[in-house]
């Protein structure tokens, strides 16, 4: 009680004058409190805000710059210091943007499967005197983004840094990533300033395919970073059509056009390319509709009508991908070819395509029908009666099988509903299907270790790229590739195929080799080496502002011809 008068002044509020000290103290406290609060807030936040504003001023594209923003299915920004991770999507958006290989892919046409073309090498061929020695003639006058010149020493270093751990700049993780391509490469040698020789361990006519994803990075830049790739990552340099500009870790990678690119036809027609990882399909669709991105990979089939009604272009194209099951050829029941054929007959692929709203193509073989090496394989038509008959003949009715599947993953499309449909269809023919769901990495673990460690699985569901013969067929059917040494998870073995492949590797004439590989494909289908389901049609959703994009029949795509029209948004 502070000197309050006891005189009754009515029920009204006490005038302030009666308690001057209290109200004064209160106002002082109040102002102090505000002052303190402001001070408490401002140092870290004020500085951060100021920095953010400054960064915004610098980072936002200059007025008038055309920007293409791409939403990828990857969970994070692919590694941009050489051989990318995040699967082939990393190669598609980061690898081919920043770098080139000795052999590139021609991605300019939609009507044919993308072939190999010249890259940093203008000519290559086998040495007639030694069929384990390939000679590459380099392109002249190519400079890296940091000014370094392309010459034989640099190419040799790039080859050696991914196979020889004594090379300065050896990158252990990229070495492991690239292993399946480099496994048959013995070493590289400089012949003269413009020519390089690559030696293989065994005669390998498929070497150009393996070289076609072997990027050349700038040795000068890596040297300047003292062979520390984390430092190199801040200023990477390649020869590609885009240059590195900035990165916000885990959020976006921004590249700008390289006006001095050695192929004037492929100088980008927009100024800036922004790559944003968005692993969730609905998020990608929402971002496209809201105008936050312009180009979206793999929208989920259910969002497609909505995207179309919002004015987006949805484009699809068959490309060398398959969404099949690799089977276990040692443990029953798939060790019996009749059971494998029964499973293939039991699938109603049309229903699967319908569920996917048309963004897939029925798959009856390893390659899609428009592939060069398709040939004339056996076609397993939907015939559940025949499937049941085959099962009874094989003495497996009902036939219990267990598949290992994932919840998501690169190229896995919509694994959960698709697997449930496969399960329902197989069970209708007399199988008893159990699905073992795991996350993508655990499934990769299973696939890497091979059937020996996982005898309980009759099959695994992993999507595969079939772009080039080694990756497309060979690693699934050869004994040399029996897991964990390679991609032949179920330990398939067929002498006919072994002979055909051995001959193909010794055949350096492309046409003759194609004939042999087509035969391999036909034998593989006849033997039902996989449970064939569908081929992804690789849907993309693009904003109407994006013009000039040509979708290639390949896992890789060329974004350089894209022009951005003036926005309506």
């Amino acid at each position: 009680m502070i000197g309050r008068s006891t005189k009754f002044v009515g029920w009204a509020k006490r005038p302030k004058a009666a308690c001057p000290r209290v109200s004064e103290a209160r106002s002082v406290v109040r102002s102090n409190a505000w002052a303190r609060a402001l001070r408490a807030l401002s140092p870290p936040y004020g500085v951060a805000a100021a920095l953010a504003l400054a960064a915004a001023a610098v980072a936002l594209p200059a007025h008038g710059e055309t920007v293409l923003r791409v939403a990828m299915t990857a969970g994070d920004i692919p590694d941009w210091t050489g051989q990318p991770d995040q699967g082939f999507e990393g190669y598609r958006f980061v690898g081919w943007s920043l770098y080139d290989a000795l052999v590139n892919w021609d991605l300019s046409r939609s009507d044919v499967e993308a072939p190999l073309t010249t890259g940093l090498a203008v000519k290559w061929g086998i040495d007639p005197a030694n069929n384990k020695r390939w000679i590459f003639e380099l392109r002249k006058g190519v400079k890296f983004h940091d000014g370094c010149d392309l010459d034989a020493d640099l190419v040799v270093w790039n080859i050696q840094r991914l196979i020889d751990d004594k090379t300065p700049g050896f990158h252990p993780v990229q070495y492991a990533r690239h292993r399946s391509r480099s496994i048959n490469v013995d070493h590289a040698e400089k012949i003269d300033a413009g020519t390089v020789a690559i030696y293989t361990k065994t005669p390998d006519s498929f070497l150009p395919y393996n070289v076609s994803v072997w990027y050349m990075i700038s040795k000068c830049a890596v040297e300047k970073a003292n062979y520390d790739y984390a430092a190199y990552a801040k200023a990477p340099a390649g020869t590609g059509p885009y240059k590195f500009d900035r990165v916000v870790v885990r959020e976006r990678l921004e590249l700008v056009k390289n006006a001095d690119y050695w192929d004037p036809k492929r100088v980008p027609r927009h100024d800036r390319l922004v790559l944003i990882p968005m692993p969730e399909a609905t998020t990608r669709a929402a971002a496209l509709i809201a105008g936050q991105v312009d180009f979206v990979e793999a929208p989920s089939p259910d969002t497609i009508p909505r995207l179309k009604s919002a004015g987006m272009q949805v484009i699809t194209l068959p490309y060398p991908h398959n969404w099949h099951y690799q089977l276990n050829f040692v443990e029953p029941p798939f060790n019996d070819v009749r059971v494998r054929r029964a499973a293939n007959h039991a699938l109603n692929r049309a229903e699967m395509v319908e569920m996917l709203a048309g963004v897939a193509q029925e798959g009856y073989a390893i390659y899609p029908p428009n592939a060069r090496l398709y040939g004339n394989p056996v076609k397993y038509e939907y015939d559940p009666a025949k499937a049941t008959a085959l099962l009874r003949e094989a003495g497996c009715y009902p036939c219990p099988v267990t598949f290992a599947i994932s919840t998501s993953g690169s190229g896995q499309m919509q694994p959960l509903p698709m697997n449930e449909l496969v399960k329902a269809q197989l069970e209708a023919a007399g199988f008893k299907v159990k699905l073992d769901v795991m996350d993508w990495n655990t499934l990769l673990d299973v696939s890497f270790k091979g059937r020996e460690k996982f005898p309980q699985y009759s099959g695994i569901n992993i999507s595969r790229a079939t772009q080039d013969p080694p990756n497309g067929i060979l690693r699934f059917v050869m004994k040399q590739q029996w897991g964990p040494a390679g991609g032949n998870w179920g330990w398939y073995f067929n002498q006919e195929i072994e002979d055909l492949v051995a001959e193909a590797m010794r055949t350096f004439d492309d046409e003759l080799r194609d004939i042999l590989m087509t035969k391999v494909h036909e034998v593989a289908s006849r033997e039902a080496v996989m449970l064939f389901v569908v081929h992804d049609l690789n849907p993309r959703a693009i904003s109407p502002r994006v013009k000039g994009f040509v979708q290639a029949q390949s896992w890789f795509q060329d974004l350089t011809p894209i022009t951005m029209a003036e926005s309506a948004k």
């Binding site: 399909a281 609905t282 669709a285 989920s300 259910d302 969002t303 009508p305 909505r306 229903e351 319908e354 569920m355 919840t407 919509q414 959960l416 509903p417 449930e420 449909l421 329902a424 699905l435 769901v437 795991m438 996350d439 655990t442």
Partner: protein, 298 residues
Amino acid sequence: MTDVTLSSGFAAPAVAAIKVRGYWGTVGYRLRYDYVTLFFLAVVLLIVLAAILAPLIAPFDPNKTSMVYRLKPIGFRDFRLGTDELGRDMLSRLIWGGRMSLLMGLVPVALATAIGGTLGVVAGFVGGWLNMLIMRTVDIFYAFPSVLLAIAVSGVMGGGMVNGLIALTLVFIPPLCRIAETATTQVRNLDFVEAARASGASNGSIIAHHVLGNVLAPVLIYASSLISVSVLLSAGLSFLGLGVEPPTPDWGLMLSTLRQAIYVQPLVCALPGAAIFITSLSLNLVSDGLRHAMDVRI
């Protein structure tokens, strides 16, 4: 003025006999007029009943897929609440999903009550270094936000129903243990416990007769409020893909898979979320009402 004569039979004003109810009587009396709690208690019972009787009342097989009837809207032909992305009836899946969700709601809480309650009573009763040990360990787990702990444990163990149950049980043990311990400590020092000990009663009978009575009320009330949290958390785990495997009907998993179809049938996709919401809300309100009625201060 009342005329009071002190001889036999004095005239007193007629007073109605005061009814003596006792504790549970009071609780029942309070509840009788708490219409909100009663209403939501009925809702909870309805949900539980529906879950138990799922095989009898679900109109369709929850796992039967049909490509023809994909993503149909609410009220389409026989599909009262529409169909999901594989053509399965939503109503049936919601009813069956209720089983999974209630299971994931009740089992972790029940287990945690048993384990945590026991630990708490033991710690409170014995005291000394055992109390220190148990309570400090519990404090360490308390140092994690529950969502983080649940997701971390379930995530590193690889997901799945059993791992989710283990993770949630682990999350709920600390608070229950603390409550039990506090309640036990309060009772332990009271005079009548001393008296009981002095008269030779064994520890077991002291616990059974005196301690438990004091401990049960706060622990059970708190546990009942945790059930709704458990339902929400388990649905969240399923939403992240760390819960049951498909095609098991489960509300969180349904919410997650239907997200992809949100542009086609937004209302159908909102149904599992609404189911989670209603269940959680009802459980919360019932537990609150019980707490008021039983006048428990936690």
